[in-house]
């Protein structure tokens, strides 16, 4: 153990304070500086759409599996989108084996809220035959390495993977009640040009997640308890998030066009 680690273990308060005084974080970043982000798409061949996102050390993979289901009675012309987050015990020593913990459950619900409230995907587009057939997209986010900022990484991964989805053409014969599916996957999803990207700032004792759409409107603001913050600090967060949304969206676009060129 180096002397620095010893200091961190025994006097964590003075350790972190010494960095804060210089407006730095222990990894050498400025307080308002974000970690580098890399996005890859089409990383899992068994999934209909997939992506890998790294934010600093945090690595998440999103794979989208499409299945065919019957639409719900209440919304006969809508499909389903089911986001789930799996925090695997290999990703961090804090995560134990067994059913998903609060963190995974909270993030799943957060993703669901964002996907449904932002209108990224019109669920009506997922309908094949009203009252009969609809696509159900299972968006599973697997966390391989958990080093903070899960909301941001998971949301970015889902957005990138959704844009990578290719579905086969389904034809339905009403007379014989028969369904056939083409063997080639050709149909891309109609993603509206609204792309939510989250920004969260871990403040040691609390975090704030701001989800913005591409046109700059706020979609979800999420502050699960923690330290109290002033409204003007929230303003700063939104400003920061706006900058980041541009960066992330440009990155996704670039990856997508690269993919188009190669295929």
């Amino acid at each position: 153990m180096t002397s620095l680690e010893t200091w961190k273990t025994f006097e964590p308060e003075s350790y972190y304070k010494s960095f804060l005084e210089k407006n730095k974080r222990p990894d050498g970043r400025g307080l308002m500086k974000v970690r580098p982000i890399t996005i890859k798409i089409g990383t899992v061949t068994t999934a209909e759409g997939s992506s890998t996102v790294r934010v600093g050390h945090t690595t998440v993979m999103c794979g989208i599996k499409a299945e065919i289901a019957t639409p719900a009675l209440r919304n006969p012309d809508e499909g389903f989108i089911v986001p789930n987050v799996e925090l695997y015990p290999c990703s961090s020593p804090k995560i134990k084996m067994g059913p998903p913990g609060e963190k995974a459950m909270g993030t799943s619900q957060f993703l669901k809220n964002v996907l449904h409230s932002s209108g990224v995907l019109d669920l009506k587009d997922l309908c094949i035959v009203p009252n009969k057939l609809a696509w159900c997209l299972y968006c599973d986010v697997a966390c391989i390495n958990y080093d903070g900022n899960l909301y941001d990484a998971a949301l970015t991964a889902i957005m990138a993977a959704l844009q990578n989805v290719r579905l086969p053409v389904v034809s339905y014969d009403a007379e014989n009640d028969k369904t056939s599916v083409a063997s080639e996957r050709t149909l891309p999803l109609m993603i509206k040009l609204m792309d939510p990207t989250a920004e969260d700032e871990s403040q040691g004792s609390g975090e704030v997640v701001v989800v913005l759409l591409e046109n700059g409107s706020l979609c979800t603001t999420h502050k699960p308890g923690g330290q109290l913050i002033l409204p003007n600090i929230l303003d700063d967060f939104v400003k920061l998030a706006k900058k980041r949304v541009k960066v992330v969206n440009n990155l996704i676009d670039r990856v997508l066009t690269e993919r188009m060129d190669t295929s």
Binding site: A47, S50, G63, K65, E67, N84, A142, I144, N145
Partner: protein, 280 residues
């Protein structure tokens, strides 16, 4: 799907994979020009990719790609045994293999199932003979494997990944453990089968009862005199064939061993260089 899971967001009550509705082409084990579908020769394993230290939080970690099969392994410990467990003079090994829901052709429910439990058990049994347990009394080592994509030879890939991660975590082992799989089809031996080949052979054995099967071996090729830590065979194979298969597997293991060794040495050299750079 069984009981409803209240901890996850559930979709509709019933949904079916669309592949069931696709018209099934008549498939054959070999491709059109009677070579393997990925144009490999019968005894060639697929391309390997290994990297170490992919999980920054873990004591040791590895990432392994065998063709399209992708697994990731994290090792934590040695640490204190969990409260309430019995006092033991040797180390306790805890293994869990988790398959991502999108890792297979048909989505698998995120709830634990028997295949994952079985693989965890097999991996645990293999690793208990690899780790020098007496060196870590009263402690426990956790080995977690996450399967990102399954394209055949999964157990073998998990064993190799776990072996690399144990070495990366500086845990004393007798030797680097390596896994490999072979498959018999029509009396011919094929090394490192893909998921398609495994499925096809499995279907054929069930339907016609013809001879064929597969063999997965975990072994320590060098310092432990090539002792076998795990051997799982399925299907119908004559005893003579098994011996022949074992020889082929040992040879493949030797090749993977050299590659893993190179990866480890390169990793050490690289981290030494980085340390020097930081010091100067």
């Amino acid at each position: 799907m069984g009981s409803r899971d209240t901890r996850r967001i559930m979709g509709p009550e019933k949904s079916i994979p669309y592949s069931l509705l696709q018209t099934q082409e008549k498939s054959s084990f070999l491709g059109e020009d009677s070579s393997r579908r990925d144009a490999r020769s019968a005894v060639d394993p697929r391309k390997y990719f290994m990297s170490l230290g992919v999980i920054s939080q873990a004591k040791g970690s590895s990432y392994l790609e065998v063709g399209n099969t992708k697994v990731c392994c994290g090792v934590y410990g040695p640490m204190d045994v969990q409260r309430g467990s019995d006092f033991n003079m040797s180390c306790k090994v805890l293994c869990e293999v988790k398959m991502a829901p999108f890792s297979c052709l048909v989505r698998r429910s995120p709830q634990p199932d028997k295949q994952q439990k079985e693989m965890s058990r097999q991996l645990k049994d293999a690793l208990e003979t690899v780790i020098i347990l007496d060196k870590f009394p009263k402690s426990q080592i956790d080995v977690y494997v996450t399967v990102i994509e399954d394209d055949g030879g999964l157990l073998a890939a998990c064993i190799t990944a776990a072996g690399l991660a144990l070495c990366h975590a500086n845990i004393d082992v007798y030797d680097l453990v390596i896994g490999a799989t072979v498959l018999w089809h029509n009396g011919i031996l094929y090394a490192d089968p893909t998921h398609y080949e495994e499925e096809y052979e499995g279907r054929e054995i069930r339907s016609s009862g013809s001879e064929g099967g597969q063999l997965t071996v975990g072994m320590m090729p060098k310092y432990a005199n090539g002792q076998v830590t795990l051997l799982v065979q399925g299907g119908q194979v004559s005893a003579d064939n098994l011996c022949e298969g074992l020889e082929v597997v040992v040879e493949i293991c030797q090749r993977i061993y050299n590659l893993s060794r190179k990866t480890l040495v390169e990793y050490v050299e690289q981290s030494l260089e980085e340390n020097e750079d930081n010091a100067s």
